[in-house]
């Protein structure tokens, strides 16, 4: 490797040729502030439009200051990262950005969690010297995401996520100069675009320009209503990330504290989406085996591979972009919706109340879940199976508002019957988890033999696209895994071109799976946080006594008492769905 020597702040260092000044400084443990820059190392995602100019440094012999994020180090360069000229320039740049930014920080959704705000604090900005016109734009509220472009600083991180990572292609910078904004085509609202509501744009937005639709007040109102029985379910990935909002190390499991906090908040029944994840495996796993058997028996009308369908961002993606392939994904509803359907039928019956008097709240690492629970097909006579879906971040706010000292809570368990789950369910939270859970059950059902080892290491990891062949007692089952919609698109294109040899494919819209979801505590580009969450998920699985979905005693009971068997008529009615061609939905209002 060719290296070069240079001096940064009087420190002589040696870096690889082609290294940016920003990276070289970091290697020398010199901090250069950045705003638009974003680097998700392990995912190989880097945003450096050099648009904000906050990272400027002085390079001796160069007339202008240089943006550190895009300027390559050269041999014998002498760089000053914090002399008076640099500091003044940075401060001016920041003040200019602030001069076209609302100053309603106190009531902004990002208050306390905003990179622009932190930077203003860090730089000691006390007065705005630049007065003038402020650009304004209409607010756009969709079922899941709010765009408040007045707060946009044109860092273009959202564009990177939407176009390069997810390949959804909804967001682009439009217009020019003072009038430029990041917007969908023809400046339509998000709900008239192909937006999947994956929320990855929200996850990287440094300001309050992109935020989730906040449903915490609706939840508080439901909790205060004495006529309502309020049932809560919490997704697997939430327990591996919620602690971060309370200062705990990334990867801290807070399952017991989570259950305790939900009980303190006043939920009547504290259940677990993991229960429904086990149920998903029963239905989806059975569907997989059914399709596989029929396909192998020569029925050419049965398409393979079967694709997982628990990720609502992914469902939105193929409804918009691959409508001709709608017969390939499993018809199984997501765990969130299976839970809602069972809670408002089976469980409502059990406790003797009408579905109208039950409110189902879900805690999700996801923003697309907000859209999913509002889908018409998931309601009965206008009453939705899941009333409100709130993100991990919203739950943290709710806990803080309610004066609960989260970190000192003693661990509690979930309630039964919809709170019991297996290790197979908890791994739904990470990329590779759903298919591993499905394999654990499908293998035993198909072969009639007990698995010697339930850990399928070959399905785990963080690589974008993974493949593995699992031996089903002589029958090799080829499995594909993709996370991030851009990678999903590659596997879909292969299927479309007839090149795919997989029997089953798991797809998660967000990089990392649900642990990296759009509703999780913001990782601000630090992908080691996502990895820590993944480890936590597998730790939780390993610690469970039951690790296969079909062995969950309450799932067995649910089938005995209520559903009959997987893919029964009742199951089809309550636990399966159908998809819609939305490819033309965005065409001309």
């Amino acid at each position: 490797m060719e290296t070069i020597k240079l001096t940064i702040d009087n420190k002589v260092i040696e870096v690889a040729k082609g290294t940016s000044i920003l990276k070289a400084a970091k290697e020398a443990e010199i901090h250069i502030p950045t705003l638009c820059y974003l680097n998700l190392h392990d995912l190989n995602i880097e945003n450096k439009p050099a648009g904000c100019r906050v990272c400027v440094v002085e390079v001796e012999g160069r007339k202008n200051l240089a943006p550190a994020c895009v300027t390559e180090c050269l041999e014998s360069m002498v760089i000053n990262t914090h002399n008076i000229r640099v500091l003044n320039a940075r401060k001016t740049v920041l003040e200019l950005i602030l001069s076209d930014h609302p100053t309603d920080c106190l009531i902004c959704a990002k208050n306390g969690n905003c990179e622009l705000q932190s930077m203003a604090q860090e730089f000691g900005i006390r007065k705005l010297h630049y007065e003038g016109e402020q650009s304004t734009y209409r607010e756009d509220t969709s079922p899941a995401i709010i765009r408040d472009v007045d707060k946009c600083i044109m860092c273009r991180r959202c564009e990177l996520m939407c176009n390069d990572v997810q390949t959804v292609g909804v967001l682009s910078a439009v217009n020019r100069g003072f009038m430029s904004v990041v917007a969908p085509a023809f400046e339509r609202n998000l709900d008239h675009s192909e937006c999947t509501y994956c929320g990855q744009c929200v996850a990287v937005c440094p300001t309050g320009a992109l935020t989730e639709v906040d449903h915490t007040n609706a939840v508080v109102r439901a909790l205060a209503d004495p006529t309502k029985t309020v049932v809560v379910q919490t997704a697997p990935a939430v327990r591996a990330a919620l602690g971060e909002e309370f200062g705990l190390e990334p990867g801290t499991l807070v399952t017991g504290k989570l259950a305790a906090a939900l009980r303190r908040l006043g939920f009547n029944y504290v259940f677990d989406t993991d229960f429904a994840a086990d149920l998903t495996i029963m239905e989806e796993g059975t569907e997989l085996l059914d399709r596989l058997t029929r396909h192998l028996n020569g029925d050419k009308n049965v398409p393979l591979p079967i694709l997982t369908s628990c990720c609502p961002g992914w469902v939105n993606f193929f409804e918009h972009q691959f409508p001709e392939m709608m017969d390939i994904p499993s018809t199984a509803r997501s765990p969130q919706q299976m839970f809602g359907a069972i809670a408002k039928t089976y469980f409502a019956e059990k406790i003797g109340i009408e579905r109208e008097n039950m409110v189902v709240v879900s805690i999700m690492p996801c923003l697309a879940k907000k859209f999913e629970c509002q889908r018409e097909e998931f309601s009965t006579h206008g009453n939705p199976d899941v009333d409100f879906s709130i993100s991990t971040r919203e739950l943290a706010h709710l806990i803080k508002q309610s004066n609960i000292n989260f970190n000192t809570l003693a661990d509690e368990d979930f309630d039964n019957p919809l709170g019991e789950s297996t290790g197979a369910a908890v791994i739904f939270g990470t990329t590779g988890g759903v298919i591993e859970a499905a394999v654990r059950t499908a293998y035993e059902v198909q072969t009639g033999k007990k698995l010697q080892k339930v850990d399928f290491e070959e399905l785990r990891g963080m690589e974008y696209i993974r493949e593995a062949t699992i031996d089903f007692d002589g029958l090799p089952i080829k499995i594909g895994i993709a996370h991030g919609l851009g990678n999903a698109r590659k596997l879909l294109q292969d299927i479309k071109d007839g090149k795919s040899e997989f029997h089953a494919i798991e797809i998660m819209a967000c990089p990392g799976g649900c642990i990296g979801g759009g509703g999780q505590p913001l990782h601000l580009g630090d992908s080691s946080i996502i990895k820590a969450r993944q480890k936590a998920i597998y730790r939780e699985d390993a610690g469970k006594t039951i690790r296969k979905s079909h062995e969950n005693p309450y799932i067995v009971k649910l089938y005995e008492e209520f559903l009959g068997k997987p893919l029964s008529e009742k199951s089809h009615h309550l636990l399966h769905t159908h998809y819609f061609d939305k490819s033309n939905e965005t065409f001309i209002e």
Binding site: G169, S172, N175, R176, P184, A185, F186, E187, T586, I588
Partner: protein
């Protein structure tokens, strides 16, 4: 926004334009240029077709269309009126001429009259500074235009 439906042969013509640039993403601006030549403007449907042919997002196409003032999403009038705002024309009172067009046609710059007869645009220097202020209607050049003369120019096309 215009909501016209494109005819099938126009769409084919547009696709042929994209093909002539090998459906290359990098040729977007050239494709848009030609497309505006065919349609006179770039309605949403045209942009959607181009996006599909070039395998890029519609948002991206719109981003480019909305960035360059040359591209327009509004149909031009039967008689497109362009007023030169180059330095010479400007100092010789082009702005007053624009105001008079706006007043008489009851439209703003960049708009088209409801009957589709006239549209109003500004341009920068047509290289006829000796004739400043200059007005173009279609291909025809009018020189030394005074606000008082605007009525007659419009009159020529409304006979």
């Amino acid at each position: 926004m215009a909501t016209i439906k494109l005819s099938a042969n126009k769409i084919d013509e547009l696709k042929a334009v994209c093909k002539s640039f090998n459906n290359e993403k990098g040729e977007l601006i050239n494709v848009l240029h030609k497309a505006q030549g065919i349609f006179g403007y770039l309605p949403a449907e045209v942009q959607e077709v181009i996006a599909k042919e070039l395998s890029i997002s519609v948002a991206h196409v719109y981003g480019v269309v909305s960035f360059y003032s040359f591209f327009t999403m509004l149909p031009k009038g039967e008689h497109p009126v362009s007023i030169c705002l180059g330095t010479a024309c400007y100092v010789r009172g082009a702005e007053k001429v624009i105001d008079e067009f706006k007043r008489l046609l009851k439209i703003n710059v960049g708009e088209t009259t409801p009957d589709g007869k006239f549209s109003l645009a500004c341009l920068r220097c047509v290289g006829a500074c000796g004739l400043a202020p200059v007005v173009l209607v279609g291909e025809k050049v009018f020189g030394r235009v005074a606000p008082e003369g605007v009525k007659d120019i419009i009159g020529e096309y409304t006979k």
